[in-house]
Amino acid sequence: MTTPSILDKIQSAAGNDGRHGQLISELFSVFLVVTLVFYFLVFAFLLWAIFRRRRGDSREQPLRAILAGWVGLIALGLAGLTTASWVFDRRLARADSGPALEIEVIARQWWWDVRYADNDAHRVFRTANELHLPVGVPARITLRSSDVIHSFWIPNLAGKQDMIPGRENDLSLLPLREGVYRAQCAEFCGLQHARMALDVTVESPAAFAAWRAAQLRPAAAPAAGPAQAGQAIVTGRQCASCHAIAGTPASGQVAPDLTHFASRRTIAAGTLPMSRANIAAWITDPQTPKPGNNMPRVPLSPAELDAVTAYLETLR
């Protein structure tokens, strides 16, 4: 295989990069070993029954001792698995305890609305389709949905949890290794279910603090050039009805927050890689790369499109 190693790790259901995924993986191994032992035992008895030589007299021998032993062995196995489940359940609960980073994720058709909570209202911010987590720090994620049932799943870190409209679910994560992971909506949610990816970055606490500080800054107003014209269009036209950009009048709440749009790796929940050409392509006609999504085609002249693209590129 010539695949780069990052591709092998970016989305792996083995779940070895988070504490919760690791514990579940260990418990799975315990179950696998115990059930395999019993599987081979049953096979051994079956083979013995097939190849056993028939004795002269056809009377069945009473197998009381063996039967009692077999039942005892099964009871022992089941008791062992029950104990293992209980022990791992306690270990999972312990991994959740302690102060945690509070994050709220709202699933929408077909993107992720992410809010980092804080006791200080000035330190609350909103981003979209990306999740940054400090390594070794527990994160408690509140899961909601605004339209249909979605499911939150970062395979590398933990199991999945459904997001149900009108209901609040939660999930705890404890990332153990730095890296970039791909999360994916895991419950069929409509036309663009497959293009509903979440870009997860696990980084050192220092890098996370720097990212968080950058996210808290409002968007800088461009001083001149097409970017300034673009800002006027974005904040004065249809864009601002749905999108918010901190530091400008644009304050729509139903579409991805664009304050630091150009710092993300992808456009439209993993649909296109972030680049000037792709920003322009997306705005020109959002229905070609992701048919059925809720962003309309806003009629813009070529000069306006150029200005809007230039402005969005400054949103770092």
Binding site: G236, R237, Q238, S241, C242, V254, D285, Q287, P291, G292, N294, P296, R297, V298, P299
Partner: protein
């Protein structure tokens, strides 16, 4: 299968296929005449559903409630101050009307205005019945007034008064 029945079987299969017509979804409408556009948007379940989404997103409920009206006129009856045809409702949304209806021309795209118009018509059950949403996103305890049977406000004669008692 014996040959006399094969023809019937094929006919039945073709008949079943005829039921497979699927409503098309237009994610962007190209330039159409207003009347054609009205028909294309009004009888299309996708556009009505998108209109319902936009009705919440653009806070239409702030004045019109969920059709029953408030600060703005109700939308679930069949009385229209500025005309109840698709193109008239779309024009109301895009350009606004006197006494409070704001212009949404720079807030929504034209396609979205048509989707909203389709949903506004759906509030009074005007589009084709099979295109109407099966349920509203918001709780609602009354049927569209157009589906109610009109009852005389005041009995015409004493006799008809007795007859209407149930």
């Amino acid at each position: 299968m014996s040959s006399p029945f094969r023809a019937e079987a094929i006919m039945l299969a073709l008949l079943a296929l005829a039921g497979c017509h699927r409503e098309t979804r237009d994610y962007r409408s190209d330039a159409m005449k207003a009347a054609e556009r009205g028909a294309a948007f009004e009888d299309n379940a996708f556009h009505i559903a998108q209109g319902q989404r936009l009705y919440a997103w653009m806070n239409c409920a702030g004045c019109h409630a969920h059709g029953g009206g408030g600060m703005g006129p109700p939308l679930m009856d069949d009385e229209w101050r500025y005309g109840g045809r698709m193109e008239q409702i779309a024009a109301t949304i895009l350009d606004g009307r006197p006494n409070g209806m704001p212009s949404f021309r720079r807030r929504v795209t034209e396609d979205q205005a048509w989707q909203l118009a389709a949903f506004v018509r759906a509030l009074s059950a005007q589009p084709r019945q099979d295109a109407l949403p099966g349920r509203a996103d918001e709780p609602r305890n009354t049927e569209p007034m157009t589906l109610d049977e009109r009852k005389p406000i005041r009995p015409v004669t004493a006799k008809s008064d007795d007859a209407s008692e149930e």
